[in-house]
Point group: C2
Chain length 218, copies 2
């Protein structure tokens, strides 16, 4: 397995270098890059839509959609008038910096704003790979239970903000808010935790405020 | 990246060899090995509990719990009187055959039955690695939406049976059953699809019947 470890170290190192390049080039254009991570079905795309609505006219919204297969989310965004570019990884369990660098290279950023990159639905692997982001936004569903920080620590440790989505389901699922927050705080003292429902749109104001503040300082 | 491809091919080949050994040795003991896969929070452990209840006295139930960190699920099983062994991968996104071979080597199988191996919560990577199973059981949550087969095809393609869990949430979530089943059937013509609620225990009879039939022919 030494071969594997060496190859993986080379891959991480090269990836980090490219990610640094992407982040710097986006910052120079006034574009904040947000790596949106979360398990399958946590509501990454529907949260994105709420955030884009909230950003308003002051900031442009750019979207790259990562999926193993299909362009369902990109079509959903386009039907709402949001420009989105689809990447299909055809099996790969996470996006990497090289694929983002080549995608970003083909995009036009006419105005300052936010580039959302929706990663592959996976609570494990995406947390290990930088893709050129300035911030990692983690989306979690109440329906998936409150033990997730304990079972999948890395994503929670690395997140710059955490959205607990699907609060509309709280009356019907077992979600222990205190246990969840304690699990997050053991790993990550600083990331704000936002309880929201992308379905009803409730409580997104605070997330938007946080995002606009970050976009204003890039 | 040629190095990576070569190393990965060696890893897959070696893994497959060990998995074959594990599967044969369990079959020789009259133990059916079920690889339980699914996204984080889909309800793998609670489905396991329903299946173990349903197996009854005729078949013994053995459990290996795979998690990146924590032993929450193993403690839950033990509190219900189910013998379970915890594996923590400390970062790795899936179980592999070597870790299962060494774990199974330390277990005593006194009676014919079923060994459930709960894989890491991840709808992507576990589908790529055999771990010594005779069957793959995929657990999906209605709350995660009906587009999962389109976005994460490999797990659905390889599944021997699919459990759609959390049907108790159907009145509160957008789940298009027809769209979901069509997506599964485009990838997998044969796997039975069971709609169940591990929370209420509803509709597990058919899954248990299927499992007992499989356990009877090992």
């Amino acid at each position: 397995m030494t071969d594997k470890i060496e190859v993986m170290e080379n891959i991480y190192g090269e990836n980090e270098k490219i990610a640094g390049r992407v982040a710097a080039s986006l910052a120079a254009k006034g574009v904040l890059c947000v790596n949106v991570m979360g398990a399958p079905g946590s509501g990454k795309t529907s949260s994105l839509i709420r955030l884009i609505e909230g950003l308003g006219a002051e900031y442009a919204a750019y979207v790259i959609e990562g999926d193993i297969e299909s362009d369902i989310d990109t079509q959903k965004l386009k039907s709402l008038g949001v420009e989105a570019i689809q990447i299909n990884t055809h099996g790969a369990c996470h996006l990497d910096a090289a694929i983002i660098e080549s995608t970003v290279g083909s995009m036009k950023f006419k105005k300052r704003g936010v580039l959302f990159i929706e990663n592959i639905g996976n609570l494990v692997c995406p947390a290990e790979f930088l893709i050129g982001e300035h911030l990692k936004l983690l989306v979690v569903s109440t329906a998936d239970g409150s033990d997730k920080p304990y079972k999948y620590p890395l994503a929670f440790e690395k997140a710059d903000a955490i959205i607990i989505n699907k609060t509309d389901l709280l009356p019907y699922v077992d979600f222990d808010r205190e246990f969840f927050v304690a699990g997050v705080r053991a790993l990550n003292r600083n990331a704000p935790i936002f309880f929201v429902s992308a379905k009803t749109g409730g409580d997104f104001d605070e997330v938007v405020k946080w995002l606009r503040k970050k976009a204003g300082t890039i």
